[in-house]
């Protein structure tokens, strides 16, 4: 187990290095740089040059890369020129909001997704199953920004029961979290459905029935837990994706999370923030995947942690 964790962390470090490098290459490939944005439309070529050299942007890329890598190793992600403070500080400040949103959405998705999935998967092919599957597909097909704006119009404007935008309070969390959880719920439901449906055809379910258990007992005692492994894997992956991918929802609901920070930073070519945010998100994805694997190993004693994928 400890060896496994160490090995996975080593792979994680390698992945982080890949992410760090990729983000470096990618942001520097993009046309326009920090100097263009900082100086705005009125800049003269001379001013641009001066600023570039003072920022070190005129050095050869490999050199910039090396010094950047050196800084990252020392956990120094540089100063954000937009925010005028260490980039990591800014990123960390936004992190809790993102975590709140993601956790709330994930919790909802797990609860409702599991219920729907179990209900559907317990009788594969039944009318209920088809209904749930179709609804899940429909939920996955809703453009999130559309749902978000409709929610605002309905719950904030018409019914006036929930605030429309901003962060902080629990009430503020409801709409964005629900919006974010809709496609996720659908995914969890579909995963659970297929897992449960498959487990239902396993021989040990027959064994459980042969002991005289009721269908509910069979389901809760022998089916659900056994079908969770792919669900856990997906939740692990998806939560990671949500961390960085909730941009649209954060924008619609003015939720001060990492996604909108990242998009803004890319637009402003705030390299330091882009890099810091990407690394943090990458780290989370890696840790969550690791966590999912550990949970799976706890769920299923047959899984030897190393034999992943």
């Amino acid at each position: 187990m400890s060896y496994f964790v160490i090995k996975r962390l080593a792979i994680g470090l390698l992945t982080i290095w890949g992410v760090v490098t990729a983000v470096f290459v990618v942001v520097r490939l993009a046309p326009g740089d920090q100097a263009t944005v900082a100086l705005g439309p009125d800049a003269t070529p001379a001013e641009l040059e001066a600023l570039r050299s003072s920022l070190g942007l005129d050095r050869p890329l490999p050199l910039q890369y090396l010094s950047y890598l050196g800084d990252v190793v020392r956990l120094d992600f540089g100063e954000s020129y937009r925010f005028g403070r260490p980039a990591m500080d800014q990123v960390i400040e936004r992190f809790p909001a993102t975590v709140q949103l993601t956790l709330a959405a994930t919790a909802m998705a797990i609860v409702f997704g599991l219920i729907l999935g179990v209900v559907a998967g317990k009788k594969p092919g039944s009318a209920l199953d088809r209904a749930v599957s179709t609804v899940a597909l429909g939920l996955q097909a809703l453009p999130p920004f559309w749902v978000g704006i409709m929610f605002i119009l309905i719950f904030a404007l018409q019914l006036q029961v929930l605030p429309s935008a901003g962060g902080g309070s629990l009430a503020n969390l409801v709409l964005p979290a629900v919006t974010l959880s809709i496609p996720f719920t659908a995914l969890v439901a579909r995963m659970t459905r297929s897992g449960v449906a498959e487990t239902m055809s396993e021989a040990f379910v027959l064994t459980a029935r042969s002991k005289g258990l009721t269908e509910t007992q069979v389901l809760t005692g022998h089916v659900v837990k056994n079908s969770l492994i792919p669900v856990v894997t997906v939740v692990g992956l998806q939560v990671g994706t949500l961390l960085g991918g909730a941009v649209i929802i954060e924008t619609v609901f003015a939720w001060p999370g990492l996604g909108s920070l990242l998009v803004g930073a890319v637009g402003n070519r705030d390299y330091a923030v882009v890099q810091a945010a990407t690394v943090l998100i990458g780290l989370c994805v890696i840790v969550l995947n690791l966590a999912a694997d550990i949970v799976n190993a706890k769920l299923d004693p047959r899984i030897r942690l190393e034999a992943r994928r």
Binding site: M1, S2, Y3, F4, I6, K7, R304, L305, E306
Partner: protein, 277 residues
């Protein structure tokens, strides 16, 4: 006695499992621990032993699907490497029949395509022009009519599939046929059909056969010599007659007595058999 077609010397195979902890080292399975074995021309050598004793691993080494940690496999004096490094002629000469007729044939291909594929790789065996005839011949050899060539494995019964499997091997005119549990998955009534076919083919095609099984009764019916494996080692190797009448090793004796145990109303069967004759 004829000289060995296949010689296995001091074969060792180790499978390493995943590491459990940093210092704990890997779990290591010594699947084959120093096996010496000869298969002589035109003989049937049975390899028996309980599950996990390493029989299949030996077979896979012979075919070059598993790379042994140590030891040599020699075919007619030539040392053999992994399957894709072998000279075409050796690839052709050693063929295999698998246990599960359901999974040893590509379900997406027709029987004809499966057999022709062999000739695509080794065109010399059946020249371009007379493949149709060759196909009919090889199917006839295993007791199938030419009509099945257009069918897919899923449209065949288990026995028929196993015949196709044998036909695929025979299509390359091999010298040595490795059968890994070739009849174990078949119904009793079909099992005899396939066994009989194998015995006939061996005679007509001058084959040497390495026959792997855990069923001692079958061994008794068809083997010339028997090698007994246990946890990766060869515990005994003798002619069939010798082994069944005077087993030398206690482990062999144990196996035999367990088999006897199951024989139950043996007398009843004998009686029946007499009646039929």
């Amino acid at each position: 006695m004829s000289s060995p077609v296949l010689e296995i010397r001091d074969l060792r195979v180790v499978f390493t499992g995943p590491r459990r902890s940093l210092r704990g080292g890997r779990t290591v399975v010594q699947a084959v621990a120093g096996v010496d074995l000869d298969v002589r021309a035109k003989e049937t050598l049975a390899l028996v032993g309980e599950s996990g004793s390493g029989k299949s691993t030996v077979a896979r080494c012979v075919l070059g699907l598993v790379r042994p940690q140590a030891g040599t496999v020699t075919y007619e004096g030539r040392a053999l490497g992994p399957v894709d490094k072998r000279p075409a002629e050796v690839q052709r000469a050693i063929q295999m029949v698998f246990q599960d007729p359901g999974s040893s044939l590509n379900p997406r291909m027709t029987v004809g395509a499966i057999i022709r594929e062999a000739w695509k790789v080794h065109p010399a065996v059946a020249p371009e022009g007379d493949r149709r005839q060759a196909l009919a011949d090889v199917l006839a050899d295993v007791g199938l009519d030419a009509g099945v060539a257009g069918r897919r494995p899923s449209a065949l019964s288990g026995g028929q599939r196993q015949r196709v499997s044998i036909a695929r091997a025979l299509a390359l005119r091999p010298r040595l046929l490795v059968c890994d549990e070739a009849v174990s998955a078949l119904d009793v009534s079909v099992q005899s059909q396939i066994l009989r076919l194998l015995v006939d083919l061996r005679r007509t095609h001058d084959l040497s056969v390495l026959f792997i099984t855990h069923d001692l009764a079958v061994v008794r019916q068809i083997a010339d010599r028997v090698a007994v494996m246990r946890t990766g080692e060869l515990v005994e190797c003798a002619t069939a007659e010798q082994l069944f009448t005077a087993p030398a090793h206690p482990y062999t004796r144990g196996l035999l007595s367990a088999a006897h145990d199951l024989e139950g109303t043996r007398a009843g069967f004998e009686h029946t058999r007499e009646q039929i004759r």
